[in-house]
Amino acid sequence: MIIFASCIILFLIGLYAIVTKRNLIKIAIGFAFIEYAVNLLFALIGFKHGALAPIITQVNTPHNFVDPIPQALVLTAIVIALGTTALMLTVILRIYNRYKTFDIAEIKKLKG
């Protein structure tokens, strides 16, 4: 149970960075932490003591595998996370190009 709780702590660190930091790059890093936390929690839930990775090596033996479904769900999500992070960084670059700062309070002040 404590091992799941540390994933929740990583989630809360990411949320802290998103909510309270004023630097845009720090906010992007917070989003990345939330993605890692969710992916890791999925993989940890599917673990079984003494089980092997879900690759069949012999046909006619009983299989003792970890849960393959969380792995299948997370596998695509990792690649998607890279795409969304790149999109977020593109928007951040555009904002920096216009206002010359990463500080969201300054950006709010300079608007209009």
Partner: protein, 177 residues
Amino acid sequence: MIELYLFLIFMLIAAIIATEIKDLLAAVISLGAVGFAVAIMFILVQAPDLAIVQIVVEVLTVVIFVAVILRTTHIDETIGKKLKGTQILSIVLYAFFTILFLIVVFRSFQELPEFGNATMKVASEYIKLGLPQTGGTNIVADVILDFRALDTLGEATVLFTSVIGVVALMRKVGRKK
């Protein structure tokens, strides 16, 4: 399983450093440390597919972050400043949300199986039918490309949308003042 705990502690320390440090390049390197710790933990929980993808994606993530920071600035000017009213309000709201969230998490953890005892209700069917019905010996590939292929199609659409977004935001035509 002692190494799993060690990597979890390493990951949490690196995450705290990444959020609080003044130099943005150091923050990105700490982000990379968190990602590689996650990749090693994927190996420890018997998920080699995820470990391969996570390592390569982590390298590309760090490269993209560093490319952005080198073009702009690498000092976080907002770290040492005094807290403003809105920021104090957001910290209070964050603390409030954290308490609510922890209550929900505590209740939902009662429903989860203990660590290391996955229930495998659906998965046992997939493992039993994977080789006879698809012919592939990698069960994860069987699940993402045969049993749940529509899911993969949706994810490919999301990737396509984000690529379109990046290319459209970075174009130069129509940006003249």
